[in-house]
């Protein structure tokens, strides 16, 4: 088995996780910028975090033979302070040309506020002007449906956004078709207590198809499982899905989307 982990917050994980992911067949890990569990007080805090994502974490991952890529942004949970958000967005040009940076993410909404939406639109515009891929976080639980609709509207309203350059993450049964019908990619996140279980993720593939979808663990400092993707592959085997189908879902699809970034290169694999 081989797979790409397209969404994992490895700065919150221990080195044993790198070892176990590598043993399970992980060939690359991608890390979006996210909320640290507390609000940062200044743009300098984000500067240090972006250095961690673009310089230090790739070195730590490399010790375990794992290529590490990152996405940069100010996340929606810290987007209420629009002045701070503007300062953080102003930092991005200093980092987007770093060799492991894939695009802008995970931007999005959390509680669907006006300020969150302003900051989302600011970062969509930045991504469009700099021809960057976009990775979007959709809100949790009761806020997901509304947030997904608002996010899709914001993306559709920007004249330079290409739907195929956008992955909308954390979809569930009530949002996946909205995303796919908009021509964007849909990410399914496997969490033990929320978002999606392996069985439900496979249900969605069986009912919506395997085009433009990927699977991730989004493992972080909370209740999460860095091996959720390979465990779901085992569940697919139990459901008699073919090895080709599984490989497409957990390896070829993320490879196809991520290869749209000139920075995404894996050893021994030429650009798609």
């Amino acid at each position: 088995m081989r797979y790409i982990e397209p969404h994992a917050h490895m700065v919150s994980r221990v080195t044993d996780d790198y070892t176990r992911m590598r043993l399970a067949g992980c060939e690359a890990v991608c890390e979006p910028a996210f909320w640290a569990g507390f609000d940062r007080n200044s743009a300098e805090g984000f500067y240090d975090y972006f250095c961690q994502l673009t310089e230090h974490e790739p070195k730590r991952a490399a010790k375990f033979g794992l290529p590490h890529f990152s996405w940069l942004c100010i996340n929606s949970k810290e987007a209420e302070n629009t002045a701070l958000a503007a300062e953080v967005v102003a930092l991005l040009p200093r980092f987007i040309d770093k060799p492991n940076v894939l695009g802008i993410g995970e931007i999005g909404l959390n509680k669907n506020t006006r300020n969150e939406l302003k900051v989302l639109e600011m970062q969509i515009d930045f991504a469009a002007r700099h021809n960057q891929l976009i990775l979007v976080h959709t809100p949790h639980l009761e806020d997901k449906l509304k947030g997904t609709r608002l996010i899709l509207d914001a993306l559709k309203q920007h004249p330079r956004i290409q739907p195929g350059h956008v992955i909308i993450d954390h979809v569930e049964e009530h949002t996946i078709r909205l995303v796919l019908d908009a021509g964007m990619w849909a990410g399914m996140t496997l969490y033990p207590e929320s978002k999606c279980t392996p069985a439900r993720a496979i249900d969605m593939v069986e009912t919506c198809g395997v085009d433009r979808v990927w699977l991730n663990s989004a493992c972080d400092w909370g209740v999460s499982d860095p091996l959720a993707v390979p465990k779901t592959a085992l569940e697919m085997q139990r459901r008699t899905h073919s090895a080709e189908m599984i490989d497409r879902f957990i390896y070829q699809n993320p490879l196809k989307f991520l290869s749209q970034s000139p920075h995404f290169r894996l050893p021994g694999i030429s650009k798609l």
């Binding site: 959390n110 449906l145 049964e173």
Partner: protein, 86 residues
């Protein structure tokens, strides 16, 4: 997969979860005080289950979701509680 294969793979797991839900509702019944909007949405979602072609998972998720489209002025906090208070 055939229905027999699905039952073989998932029946025991679903049975266990169903009993957990039943026990949760018993626990709630034994406790004191009032329910809130979360349990109202929960009971409505339960009532959706069953009919053929019901699109059950999606319908349950919709029962817990905020159906509006207007961004709110200020976030009441960072977290979500699982059901829209209305």
């Amino acid at each position: 997969m055939t229905r027999q294969q699905v039952l073989d793979l998932y029946f025991m797991d679903a049975r266990s979860k169903l009993i957990d839900i039943a026990a949760f509702m018993d626990r709630l019944e034994r406790s004191s005080g009032e329910e809130d909007f979360r349990m109202k949405a929960f009971r409505e979602a339960l009532s959706q289950l069953g009919p053929a072609g019901a699109d059950n998972a999606r319908q349950v998720l919709l029962k817990f979701s905020d159906p509006t489209l207007e961004p709110i002025a200020v976030a009441p906090g960072k977290g979500a509680c699982g059901a829209w208070p209305g």
